[in-house]
């Protein structure tokens, strides 16, 4: 809550409060509902203090920090390759995407560039982790709205992507595959054909989800017109990713401000937006995004160049003094690392800008006046990962 001091704003707030009181005779004392830290809809340990009037939400305030692991401080005592293993755990559903902006920031400071093949594979794995992440969102959102089957289908079909990520990197969830100056290894034999198959499966999964969930009348009734975030509110709260695009803002870091080292300009794809800004729009945009990501992967797989996957970098990495901020369009939104180096083995300071922290900040604004079931729709469609909020 921001403190309001000037008399005009206070008067306006009082007028609004009085306006909300419909019938003083029947007004009852509200109920404070503590959703979380252990609540199924907060997938993790987010706590939401909801003040309720009956089932209507008067105010909802997210409390974060139950899973704070002190990553920004930890980075100050870890070498750069060690940090790479650490930041895998921020957004644990799309881990590879966490590594890339940090590595790119370090590369920017060291003034090295990964060879083209490494850039291609990086982009492919980046988009694969997006597919893995958002396909699970589709199922999980269905689960939160009571459609159990969608969740299981999502877990089933996400396996196709995870298998590909595992066979390339060795880790299903935490690849730790990106290196300053390139990648740890080249792709295994036959990986490209298998990836084509996996992406086809995921495209079929998107169609299935559209049939089962997104096209369903009950689903639409639960999401359309619920939790509307207008474009100016979305921008002022610093929303990013699909949450922002669902409010009609045509903004995508992959297209607008792609850092060197990722090759999104080599593929033909589209940024989807939706004018409504409601829960349905956010789901729909993510569904389309999964399809686009699968298409990007398929195109890049066909044009992948040959050559080495690692540039010449010293064995012991010392990053020259300087500052760099690199942000990429991660599955959850803009994720950036502000790296300050003093020329040591370890960074002097790293600021992690993760998408979910900002995305969830709009909750008090958007949840006001919603019903408890709508609160679940809003929470689900804002789509946060607890590790991404708390770091």
């Amino acid at each position: 809550m921001t403190a309001v001091s000037d008399p005009q704003s206070v008067a306006a707030l009082v007028a609004e409060a009085n306006d909300n009181r419909v019938n003083l005779d029947f007004e009852t004392e509200g109920m404070t509902l503590n959703m979380g830290p252990q609540h199924p809809a907060t997938h993790g340990t987010l706590r939401i203090i909801a003040r309720l009037d009956g089932e209507q939400v008067i105010s909802a305030e997210p409390m974060c920090g139950y899973m704070h692991r002190g990553y920004e401080k930890l980075t100050e005592v870890r070498t750069y390759p060690q940090i790479n293993a650490l930041i895998n755990r921020i957004d644990w559903l799309g881990s590879f995407a966490n590594e890339v902006p940090f590595i790119l920031a370090a590369e920017k400071l060291m003034d090295v560039e990964a060879p083209p093949r490494a850039q291609w594979i990086r982009t492919i794995l980046f988009e694969m982790s997006r597919v893995a992440n958002i396909s699970l969102f589709l199922g999980d959102f269905g689960l939160q709205l009571g459609g159990m089957t969608a969740g299981f289908y999502a877990f089933r079909d996400r396996e196709w992507v995870l298998n590909q990520i595992e066979s390339a990197t060795g880790g299903r969830f935490h690849p730790n595959f990106d290196r300053i100056g390139g990648l740890k290894d080249d792709l295994p034999k036959g990986w490209i054909e298998e990836s084509h198959t996996a992406m086809d499966k995921l495209l079929a999964f998107c169609d299935e989800m559209e049939d089962l969930l997104v096209g369903n009348e009950i689903f639409q009734g639960r999401t359309r017109g619920i939790g509307v975030i207008p474009a100016e509110i979305a921008l002022s709260y610093g929303l990013s990713g699909a949450n922002l695009r669902a409010s009609g803002v045509d903004w995508d870091l992959r297209r607008d401000n792609c850092p060197p080292g990722l090759v999104y300009d080599k593929a033909d794809w589209k940024v989807w937006t939706h004018p409504d800004g409601d829960c349905f729009a956010r789901t729909w945009v993510r569904l389309q995004e999964t399809r686009e990501a699968a298409k990007i992967v398929k195109q890049l797989l066909d044009t992948i160049p040959s050559g080495p996957v690692m540039a010449k970098v010293p064995r012991i990495i010392k990053v020259p003094a300087g500052e760099a901020y690199v942000a990429t369009e991660n599955p959850l939104g803009e994720m950036g690392y502000y790296v300050v180096s003093k020329g040591d083995l370890v960074p002097f300071r790293v600021k992690i800008r993760s998408a979910s922290f900002n995305n969830i900040s709009v909750l008090p604004w958007v949840a006001r006046g919603a019903y408890v079931p709508d609160l679940i729709s809003i929470l689900g469609s804002l789509y946060f990962i607890l590790g991404d909020i708390d770091r």
Partner: protein
């Protein structure tokens, strides 16, 4: 054996004892069967899973194992709970389920009490479970429980009326409120003079069948109407504070009620325990009747559970508007048309 059963006329105390034993054996068995077949196996197959595999052949004894597990659990009550109400609430829910089975006919004579107003009795008794739910929610001293219980009570307003109105069409057509009478009317009827398969009322009361199934879905608090026990919203609602055998009783009651309502739907719309080409007076129905009814119950249950595993959840106010703006007008139209046709034809 059928003759033996037909000539079996025990004294009052013995028949009462037999009825009590049969009901208290049938209710958990039906719950087990539905839970095993639909909740564990068919749900798993629909969701591309295997389901239970280890306990018993193909995992068929999993629910028994779970039941034993529940019985071993400590009986915990929350600190602020109203203990007496808290402990009685599951029994009230179970009682309403047991009473449902009293009027269900498994054949002409295999029925605990062949009531003249069987339909009325069944529908009235089914709503009693909401009292138990309210007791559970209120006494649990938990906000989620309270919200769940109040949702269940609010839901009652939505589904009860369409359910009753949907059944009225059948009652008009059969001309009786006795469940056995309705079965006889269906089996003895004929379609345009052709009596080959009797006259199951689903052919004319398909609208009533649809409304009845939708209302049953709400009565059973199953998706898409599972707001009172929504896991992702209010964490299983009124059941949230229950553990061990008290939770088991809720579980038993839920699935036994599902079976009972599927049986009611089978009796009202699918011809109940009778099969075509076998006259209803036949003694074979002592053996055949329960089997036929069970088969029809499984068909109806499949529809109920198929919907349960597929659809997302409504919001409470959406259920109200669905019931009052769609189901009730449709049911009224159904009643009017049925009544007019009954008089004209």
């Amino acid at each position: 054996m059928t003759l033996l059963l037909a000539s079996f006329a025990p004294p009052y105390w013995l028949s009462t004892l037999i009825k009590v034993i049969v009901i208290s054996a049938v209710v958990p068995t039906t719950a087990l069967i539905l839970g095993m077949v639909f909740l564990f196996k068919i749900m798993s197959w629909m969701q591309s899973r295997l389901g239970p595999q280890e306990a018993g052949p193909r995992g068929t004894l999993q629910l028994l194992a779970d039941g034993v597990k529940f019985l071993q659990k400590e009986d915990i009550a929350p600190n602020g709970a109203d203990l007496w109400v808290f402990k009685v609430a599951p029994l009230v829910v179970l009682m309403s389920t047991l009473l449902l089975y009293v009027a269900l006919p498994a054949s002409m004579h295999l029925v605990v009490a062949d009531l003249d107003v069987g339909v009325f009795f069944v529908l009235a008794i089914a709503s009693l479970s909401v009292i138990g739910v309210l007791m559970a929610g209120w006494s649990s001293a938990s906000k989620y429980s309270l919200m769940g219980a109040l949702r269940a009570a609010g839901q009652l307003i939505a589904y009860e009326l369409p359910m009753v109105l949907a059944v009225i069409g059948v009652v008009i057509q059969a001309g009786t409120m006795s469940l056995n009478g309705i079965v006889l009317a269906q089996n003895d009827g004929s379609i345009f003079g052709w009596g080959g398969i009797g006259f199951p009322y689903i052919l004319t009361q398909f609208l009533g069948f649809f409304i009845f199934i939708a209302a049953v879905q709400a009565e059973l608090t199953q998706p898409p109407f599972d707001m009172p026990v929504a896991e992702s919203e209010i964490v299983s609602g009124y059941q949230v504070e229950y553990t061990g055998f008290r939770f088991l009783i809720f579980f038993l009651a839920e699935f036994a009620t599902a079976f009972a309502f599927a049986a009611i739907a089978a009796v009202l719309f699918l011809g109940g325990w009778a099969v075509p080409w076998l006259p209803t007076e036949s003694d074979w129905y002592y053996v055949l009747g329960p089997i036929v009814l069970f088969a029809k119950v499984m068909i109806v249950s499949f529809i109920i559970f198929w919907v349960r595993f597929t659809y997302p959840r409504f919001r409470e106010d959406q259920l109200q508007s669905l019931a009052w703006k769609v189901l009730i007008p449709l049911a009224l139209v159904n009643i009017v048309v049925t009544a007019v046709l009954k008089v004209v034809l």
